[in-house]
Homo-oligomer: 254 residues x 2
DNA sequence: ACCTGAACACCGTTCAAGT
DNA sequence: ACCTGAACACCGTTCAAGT
């Protein structure tokens, strides 16, 4: 501790996969994926670009590792194991079961569980905007190759505890995951164009004004909803979309 | 075919923004965004890389132009103008109005209109997988700067003709657009990993088998829905998700 | 076992020079 | 007005050489 007067010695601070991934996440958060460079990374780690390749195979593996690290954290906050485990035989009715020995959190209704996981992902993507594209690309990988399939599993378990026919599980879970990734990614993109220092209320007001000034013939709808964007809460809006989908689960088609 | 003996003459085939964008779309479709290169593009157009910059400012403008061209086609097939125009005063009730002089297609219910636009986008993204990421990034742009806001408008108009409170329009439209882009992008990514020559049934069977072989403790849900992926139709599945959201629109929360 | 740093084969983009 | 092609400042990645 007190010996930390000199800058870190190589021996005390050797390169490691963890340090590399950590620095990568920092660069990603600060500058976005386009600016994550092996040379920039090497400089930050006080080494040469070649050294990184001893610990990481290539850039895409580095991106995967960064994604895994961040998402694993996010999913750890939300409970990975839901109230009701999937029983492979029959559609599960969502009669609240006896409290299970939940690992991290108190037991919740599946609906609240979905909200919790969704919000955890929303916040993670908000804090790390580059996550959205990364996760979307990873969803088609086989489980075990990345965290993205874990998200699918995590949402799906809660869906299986909903009172919905088993035949709808896949559709519902897919819809939820797509919505979550899409909406969270959008929010992150907005935040990015906004910039870190800017005023949110002012930004919303500006967009609302711009929407209201659109050509009535070309953009009647966008004009009509301009008011709604002016004073909406991002997370509330996001959760409203989740509820919309969940409401559709048991509803009969009109 | 048989006429393709000489290479095209310069004077008869001058460079133009249109030709460049067309060639870019071809490269994008064939090799993906990573392989769209000004040098490859120049070679395909029998010119130097510098020449392209006379017609296009930079790569991101080229990508935008390619996206615009492809999406404009897709939205032209689906009706851009819906049965019921947005009236800014009151929530519109979806009593079928008198047939309007629809520009391209016969009048439809808003629900069918949404399905049509969604399916057109699904097919476009299926044919041009690089579209998904491009559109997601463009959604946060102001209308007029890209086609993405037109998609929002196009879906939104139909939403406004649904029997839903006006206060929900923004949420519903956002949810739909996010789902459409997310699900279509996912499908395109799957098709990409599948490859052009492979057998779809065999591919689905392989994934289903892989899912069924997962650890029951870690992936109970994914295992449980493995059957459902085996013989599902992509477009049907996609539309089921749309219907799910639409069903949620008027449903009361449970 | 781990790190260095030069080198290779690329990129997007610019720009003097041509027609 | 439009095109050429060399050049600049980057990239990811490799690899002989060091410790």
């Amino acid at each position: 501790m007190a010996t930390r007067t000199r800058r870190p010695e190589r021996r005390e601070n050797p390169l490691s996969r963890e340090r590399i991934v950590g620095a990568a996440v920092e660069l990603l958060d600060a500058d976005g994926e386009g600016r994550l460079t092996f040379r920039a990374l090497a400089e930050r780690l006080a080494t040469g670009p070649g050294a990184i390749y001893w610990h990481v195979a290539n850039k895409s593996e580095l991106l995967d590792a960064a994604t895994d690290a961040v998402v694993a954290d996010a999913l750890a906050v939300a409970p990975a194991t839901p109230v009701t485990p999937v029983t492979s035989a029959m559609p599960v009715t969502s009669v609240a079961p006896a409290m299970s020995a939940a690992s991290t959190t108190t037991a919740e209704s599946p609906r609240d569980g979905i909200r919790a996981v969704a919000l955890a992902l929303f916040d993670a993507i908000d804090a790390h905007p580059w996550l959205a594209a990364q996760l979307a690309a990873q969803l088609s990988r086989s489980p075990g190759q990345s965290v993205a399939p874990r998200i699918f599993e995590s949402i799906g378990r809660q869906v299986s505890a909903l009172e919905a026919p088993k035949s709808s599980w896949f559709t519902v879970t897919s819809a939820l995951v797509h919505y979550i990734l899409g909406a969270a990614g959008q929010n992150a993109a907005n935040g990015r164009t906004l910039g870190p220092g800017a005023d949110r209320g002012e930004f919303l007001d500006t967009t609302a004004r711009a929407w209201e000034a659109l050509d009535p013939d070309d953009y009647p709808f966008t004009r009509a909803v301009a008011v709604q964007i002016r004073d909406h809460d991002d997370r509330e809006q996001f959760l409203a979309g989740i509820d919309l989908i969940l409401n559709g689960v048991a509803a009969k088609p009109s």
